[in-house]
Subunit: 344 residues, 2 copies
C-alpha cells in the first residue's frame, strides 16, 4: 500500500484540503491508528454514551511536542506524543481513553519519516490502551517549522470518588518515585549532533497508566501524583510544595540515578534533579501506605526501581530542601532559565 509513497516528500498540497490531503490521511495517517471511532473520518469523533459510566468525571489535557531531534535512543516524537499525554491524564487519576493527533508538517519532510513516527504513535497507543480517534494535518512551507510538530490532546475517565491533589496531603506523607532520574534529558542531549559524547542512555519514555492503576489499587492513601517532565523532579517537587503549602525534604542518597546519567551530568555540569523524564512520576502517599505502595510498584516493569525519596513537612511552606549525602542541606529552587530547549 505504501509503495507509491516510497521516496516521496510532504508538499504544501498535502495540507490544502483537497485530493492530496485526503490520500495522505486515508493511506498513511488513518491506517497507523486504525480503530472504529476514527474510521468515519469526520471532523469530529463521536464517542457513544455507552462508553461512559454514570458518575465518572472526565479528564482533558493537551500537549504539543517539538522535541529535537525527532528520533532519539529509546523513542521518537511519536512515542513521546502518546506517552506524554497518556501520563498527564493518568497522574490525575484518570484512565486514558481517547487521543487526538494534530500534525504540523514542514514541506519537504520525507514520507518515510512520517510513516515511522505514525507507526510509533500507533504502537504506543496500543501499549497504553488508548485510541487515536480524531486528527488534523497542516503543512507549512519549508523553514516555517522544524520537520514535524505533534499535538495530542487526551480524554480520560476518572472513576467515581477518586480524588487527587493537595487537599489530602499531611505532614509525614512520603514522596515516592518510580525509577531513575534524567534518562530522557541525557538521551536527547546525546542524540543532538552538537554533542560529541557517546553516552549509553535511552529515554525512559513510557506510558505510566498501567503502573498508576497498580498504585491506586495498592494504596488508598495515594494523595497526589505528577509526572516529572520538563524541569525534572525539582520542578514537580516545587509545584507540590508551593501549591500544597508545605515543604518537601528530599534525601539525596535515595535519589535513583543511573551511573551513565550521573557520569554525563558530572562532565556536563548538569543536575539530574532538573533533567527531563518521560516515564517518571512523583507521588505523595500516606506514610502508613508507603510500604505497600513501593512493594506493588516493584511488581510492575516501570516501577522496579521505585524508591522513597522524601517527606512532607509542615514548616518552611513552599520550600524544597535537599539533604545531601554529607548531611548538609540546600534549597532546591525552580530554574529561572532553561537547561535544554525542545526536550519534549
Amino acid at each position: 500500500m505504501h509503495s507509491r509513497w516510497l521516496g516521496k516528500r510532504i508538499t504544501l498540497a498535502h495540507g490544502a484540503g483537497g485530493r492530496a490531503m485526503r490520500e495522505l490521511i486515508t493511506e498513511i495517517i488513518a491506517p497507523a491508528f486504525d480503530n472504529p471511532l476514527l474510521a468515519p473520518l469526520e471532523d469530529q469523533a463521536r464517542i457513544p454514551a455507552e462508553f461512559l459510566q454514570a458518575g465518572e468525571s472526565l479528564a482533558f489535557t493537551t500537549d504539543s511536542y517539538v522535541v529535537s531531534p525527532i528520533i532519539f535512543p529509546g523513542g521518537d516524537i511519536g512515542k513521546l506524543a502518546v506517552c506524554g499525554t497518556v501520563n498527564d491524564l493518568a497522574v490525575g487519576g484518570a484512565q486514558p481513553r481517547w487521543l487526538s493527533c494534530g500534525l504540523i508538517l514542514e514541506e519537504g519532510l520525507p514520507i518515510d519519516t512520517l510513516i515511522a513516527v505514525l507507526a510509533s504513535m500507533g504502537a504506543a497507543a496500543r501499549e497504553a490502551g488508548v485510541c487515536i480517534v480524531t486528527g488534523d494535518t497542516k503543512v507549512v512551507g519549508r523553514g516555517a517549522a522544524d520537520a514535524i510538530f505533534i499535538n495530542t490532546a487526551g480524554i480520560g475517565t476518572i472513576p467515581r470518588g477518586r480524588h487527587t491533589g493537595p487537599r489530602n496531603v499531611r505532614a509525614g506523607d512520603k514522596l515516592v518515585i518510580n525509577g531513575t532520574l534524567g534518562d530522557h534529558g541525557i538521551a536527547v542531549m546525546a542524540a543532538r549532533n552538537d554533542l560529541a559524547l557517546q553516552i549509553p542512555v535511552r529515554s525512559d519514555c513510557a506510558p505510566l497508566n498501567g503502573l498508576i492503576d497498580v498504585m491506586f489499587t495498592a494504596a488508598p492513601g495515594l494523595r497526589w501524583l505528577r509526572d516529572c517532565t520538563r524541569g525534572g523532579l525539582a520542578t514537580v517537587a516545587n509545584e507540590f510544595a508551593e501549591e500544597g503549602g508545605f515543604s518537601l525534604h528530599l534525601d539525596e542518597a535515595a535519589l535513583p540515578v543511573a551511573d551513565a546519567v550521573r557520569g554525563a551530568c558530572e562532565i556536563l555540569g548538569l543536575d539530574p534533579l532538573y533533567l527531563a523524564n518521560e516515564g517518571k512520576l512523583a507521588a505523595l502517599v500516606a506514610a502508613e501506605d508507603c510500604e505497600a505502595l513501593i512493594a506493588a510498584m516493584r511488581t510492575h516493569p516501570l516501577g522496579c526501581d521505585a524508591a522513597v525519596i522524601g517527606e512532607v513537612h509542615a514548616e518552611r511552606k513552599g520550600l524544597v530542601v535537599l539533604r545531601s549525602r554529607f548531611g548538609g542541606e540546600r534549597v532546591v529552587d525552580l530554574i529561572d532559565g532553561e537547561q535544554l530547549p525542545r526536550i519534549c
Copy 2:
C-alpha cells in the same frame, strides 16, 4: 498586571518548565481564559460527572492553526483557533463545551502579540459559550516555527438521539449554505504583504454553534452538516457526494458571493467554490423541511444570507455537478494542488 511585560519578547526559558514559564502561564495565559475548570492549573482539567447528562455522547476534535499572517481583517489566529474547533464540533450535532489550547511560540515573539491573540481567543470562547480548560506552551528557537502556531482540541456533548451523517440522506434533499463564499480566503490573501491589492473583505470567522442550534430546532429533517474551510464548498460537496454515495447538483446562480470577493476572484483567477471560509456551513436537509430551515437561519445574524444552492440526486454517484448561469453543466472536482497555503 501586564506592565512589567511591556515590550518583552518570548524567550526559550518561557517554555522550559521553570519559573519563567510559570509566570507566563499565571500572568498572561490563564487570565485570558479565566474559568473555574482551568483555575487549578493541573496538567489535566477535571470535568465533573455532573457536567454530563445521561445518554449524551461526546464529540472530540482537534485542529492546529498556522494561518499567515496571524492577524487579518475580521480576525486573527486566536479567534480562528476557537471558532474553527467550535464549528468542527457543532457541525457534528454537538454542543461545544470545553477546549484545550496548545501554543507553539517562536523565540522572539513580542509578548504584546501573544496577549492580543490570547485576548482574541478568550473573547471568541465567551461568544461561543465554551471554556478553555487546559493548555500547554512550547517555545522553539528563532526560525524553528513562524511566530505562533495554536492547536485547539475540543469536547462537545451530543444530545441523545441526535444523529447526523450520510445514512439518512435521500434523493431530493436540498443543500443549504448560510452565507457568502470565500470571504476568509480573500481576506487572508489580501492581508499578505505580497498581494498589492486593497480588497474590502473581512474574514467570516465566527462560531456557528448558535446558528446550528437554531437549525436543529427548526428542521428535524436536518441530515448532515460540515463547515466549509480549507478547500471551500467544492471540497465539502465532494466529500458529501463521495462518502454518501450520491451526486450533488449545484446551482451557480444561487451561490452567494460578495461583490468584492467575486471581483477579486476575477482579477486573481480564483474560483470562490474553492476558497476557504471560517464561518460557513453546508447542510443537507429534507426537502419538506427546507423552507422552515431557511426561514429559521435568516433569523440568526450568521444565517441572514442563507440560501438553497443544490440538490441530492441518486444518479452519477460521487459527483458534484454545477449548473452554470448559462445552462451548461460542469463537474466540480477536488483540487489536486493547493490554492493558498496556511489559510487556517
